[in-house]
Subunit: 181 residues, 2 copies
């Protein structure tokens, strides 16, 4: 998964006082997931460098999805692989069918497409993921500028990590988190 | 600077609706600063890998510090160098003398020590920066566990990026930002 895309939403929500668990199939609390730094360095698509080693906070096996208020799906190259995991698909379906907030960024929408939950929905994604999204039955919303995110009912989608401020803010709104100065 | 330590506070605060500018001496809006991924991979001190290229949002020259409510100093290896820059020292002194919130993490406290603003203050830092902090006249607060941060009047300090949730939360408190669910 992309380094910023897993840690910025996690730590942003934790700073607000939310309890957030990070999980991955076949892994348990304390296990490490390597991350990737995806960046835009003048080439025709993103570059990749090794990122931080991300430490999972909870175990995947036995996870009780009904005890969580929302699901966040980071991007990177992991979603292409995770989209093949039937337990991930079942988890996504459960959140979408219960209409709980689901926030997915970048390549995370490959998992939504694989789960068949995009039919009739409006969403964006990393531009090269448009094919998955459209074949999955969604109406494509152009991420223009690239940091623009969209909310469609319970679903927040963004194109890449520059969109985190809108991404987290729109998820906060769905969760009913209000900020005052 | 450390990759997480510049982007997590920036995007977390932006998600709350704050206007945040990122600057660096001799650089202007749109310029790139390379970042470093500092991680804890079982060696006796942290490892370093190249991170995202961070794009500055504002120009350093002509910056009006009085128009900002707070200062955030990320860690990494940049502070060792920036602590030699007289304009950076002056900027830090201005924020500390005005008692505006200053949040500094990891090696960022090297700049505070160089600015002479730690005398009589209580703070933490990355453990190997303890020498700078103590020689700078501060009382050392042990970051135990490593994600623990401390607030001493207008000053928030933390040891490293695992502390971001507390770091951002304590800065929010100093800024009078309240969250309700």
């Amino acid at each position: 998964m992309e380094d910023y895309e897993v840690t910025v939403p996690l730590q942003s929500l934790q700073a607000l006082g939310c309890h957030v668990d990070a999980v991955s199939p076949k892994k348990k609390a304390g296990d490490i997931c390597p991350t990737a730094v995806h960046d835009f360095e003048g080439d025709q698509t993103y570059s990749e460098k090794p990122g931080h080693n991300f430490i999972l906070t909870a175990s995947y096996e036995g996870l009780d999805a009904s005890s969580y208020d929302a699901l966040v799906i980071p991007g990177g190259r992991a979603p292409e692989y995770l989209a093949l995991d039937e337990t991930v698909i079942a988890l996504v379906k459960e959140f979408m069918q219960s209409r709980k907030p689901v926030a997915s960024i970048c390549h995370g929408q490959q998992i939504l497409a694989a789960a068949g939950v995009l039919k009739g929905r409006k969403c964006t994604a990393y531009p090269t993921v448009k094919l998955n999204v459209v074949l999955g039955g969604a109406t494509w919303l152009e991420p223009d500028p690239i940091d623009r995110c969209y909310t469609d009912e319970n679903l927040v989608t963004g194109a890449a990590w520059p969109g985190h401020p809108e991404f987290v803010s729109q998820l906060m709104a769905l969760l009913g988190i209000q900020v005052s100065f």
